[in-house]
Amino acid sequence: MKMKTKFGGGSNLWINPVLDKEFRLRMRTPRSFVALLSYILILGLLAIGFIYVTLGLQDQQSGMRFDPSVSRSLFYVLSIAQLVLIAFMTPALTAGVISGEREKQTLNILLTTQQSSTAIVLSKLVSSLAFMMLVVLATLPIYSIVFLYGGISPSQLIQVFLFYIFTMLLLGSIGIMCSTLFKRTIVSVITTYGISLVIFLITGIVYLLLLRVVQQSYYSVAIPPTYSWIGFILGLNPAGALISIFEPTLSSQAFLMTNMNAQNQAPISLWLEFVLVYSVLIIVALWIAIRRIRPVRRKSKNRSSKSNHPVNPSTSTQSDVAEMTPNPPEKS
């Protein structure tokens, strides 16, 4: 009985020891349960609040009714709210996974085991995302309110959840990269939120500003162009991409297509652009994390120090970044 609870070990291909450890330890802290509870509470309250407010509004116009169109807008509200919650939670979960071990002084020991850098980084990512997925799946009962009234197809729901997983993967990869690059968790967390802010907010704001500029210029010409590149910018925004899943016409609108017909399609769906562009970012972020978790060999550095330069510039510039200094040489 007890044997089963002890690590799978080398024979088990799917659960490597680090992943097993992460799963196990994460669920032993009360923090995880508190996080799960508060997440569901926030989303649940939002859903109930939305229903309450819309019913109240409709009451004055056309009597008590909660029809499919309203439930569709509830679905949108929930989905966007969920996206925002994911944006808040994923960095918090991932931006400390490596630097946290470094601060707790457990990373060094882990790095002297036979676990590869890839195994460590990916296990940390997978375990964080698994927890996030648990949280998001735990909100499904709230979505069932939407299905009670109809207006949304299950395939849309699945697409939205797949989109969430991708967004978590994106933010999680960035979080792990920062966690590897920065010695201190707090710096890593701030940087990860900073990057998330750019992805979530700045792209949207830039799009809206450019939209204003481009629309202004349309008035000054006789025949406005049928297409504008600014749609690509909205495609970098998660909310834009998410809405383009509910409303495929958004993609065309984003590119300012003037006469919409079958021949005049958007060059690319916003969500597809989002997935393509950020897939590259995910791969780059994970590659950096895997490469930098252990000391990096710089060939030029070895050469320059062999020639006995009094000060080695390539090493001193790295001092700000975690260069696998286990502890600063020795304390006095």
Partner: protein
């Protein structure tokens, strides 16, 4: 077993290691002595593949730490000077985790872990959470952890720091056991004086340079470490202490309730003459003996005047 040649490491403007070289044979217990910041931990981190040297070579069992780190890791058990534990683990889960991390199959671990816990006297704490262990127990658990894959080489950075005397003695006994098992051990420790009898070789490092290296006795004689003589008399102790100060080879005299301590730079013949003179002066000598000079004295002597202490 361990081969270090012209190893250098620099942190920014701080030269942590300056071309140190070192050779340790298999089965040797090597004591690393030096003040804080001298480069002991840096050397050990490089051997543990956690840090890359700027130049020079470090090899464990013939494997270069920068070229074949995975092979090196398989052969070393590393215990850092400061380490954390995963608090929510139970003691045996902790060892299972690291065992699994070294790719040891579960059945094998089931056999191995009770033995390891036995070795470090933690058998009764098998089901205790790591969080609840005392510092000495955590230290011993970490030592057991470093043995989980049966490494040839143990790199122990201050394994007894922060331990009370009782825990230090326990740690020392475990290390003796490991020596009997034929492990090659590199150890830097505050308890080096206590370890003197089990350390085969020492290396004294200061400001990133190897100041002295070799057998303990060789270094002691080469460094001409002063002997310390303990003299206890029935009466007139202070008077004798005063007299001794004018004697040849005597550099310092301390007198307290326990007797007189004389720092003496002479050899056996001069020491014998000193005793004869004291007896000639008709002092009632109860005991006259030479205190065991230990590694700490060697260390203090070698690094004397160094600003690092």
């Amino acid at each position: 077993m361990i081969e270090i040649k012209d190893l250098s490491k620099r942190y920014g403007n701080f030269q942590a290691l300056d071309q140190i070289s070192l050779n340790i044979e298999a089965g040797t217990v090597f004591g690393f002595v030096g003040p804080n910041g001298a480069g002991k931990s840096t050397t050990m981190s490089i051997l543990a593949t956690l840090l890359l040297p700027d130049s020079g070579i470090a090899k464990v069992s013939g494997f270069d730490v920068t070229r074949h780190p995975k092979e090196v890791r398989r052969r070393i058990g590393y215990m850092p000077d400061f380490f954390g534990v995963y608090d929510q683990f139970k003691t045996d889960e902790y060892l299972h985790f690291y065992g699994a991390s070294y790719g040891i199959a579960r059945a094998e671990r089931e056999q191995l872990i009770p033995q390891l816990l036995e070795l470090v006297n933690l058998s009764d704490k098998k089901d205790a959470y790591v969080d609840g262990l005392s510092r000495g127990m955590k230290q011993r658990l970490c030592l057991a952890r470093s043995l989980v894959h049966d490494p040839e080489v143990l790199i122990l950075d201050e394994p007894a720091s922060g331990l009370d005397p009782r825990a230090r003695i326990e740690m020392r006994e475990i290390l003796k056991e490991l020596k009997r098992m034929g492990k090659t051990i590199i150890i830097s420790s505050h308890i080096l004086p206590e370890l003197a009898e089990m350390v085969d070789q020492i290396g004294v490092i200061e400001h990133g340079r190897m100041v002295a290296q070799g057998k303990v006795s060789d270094i002691q004689s080469r460094m001409r470490v002063n002997r310390v003589l303990h003299i206890r008399t029935m009466s007139r102790q202070d008077e004798l202490a005063e007299k001794l100060q004018d004697e040849p080879y005597v550099s310092r005299v301390l007198s307290d309730a326990n007797g007189i301590q004389v720092h003496f730079s002479g050899q056996d013949a001069e020491q014998m003459q000193l005793l004869r003179r004291i007896l000639d002066w008709e002092y009632e000598v109860v005991s006259f003996n030479e205190a065991q000079t230990n590694l700490e004295d060697v260390f203090l002597e070698i690094t004397k005047g160094g600003a690092a202490i």
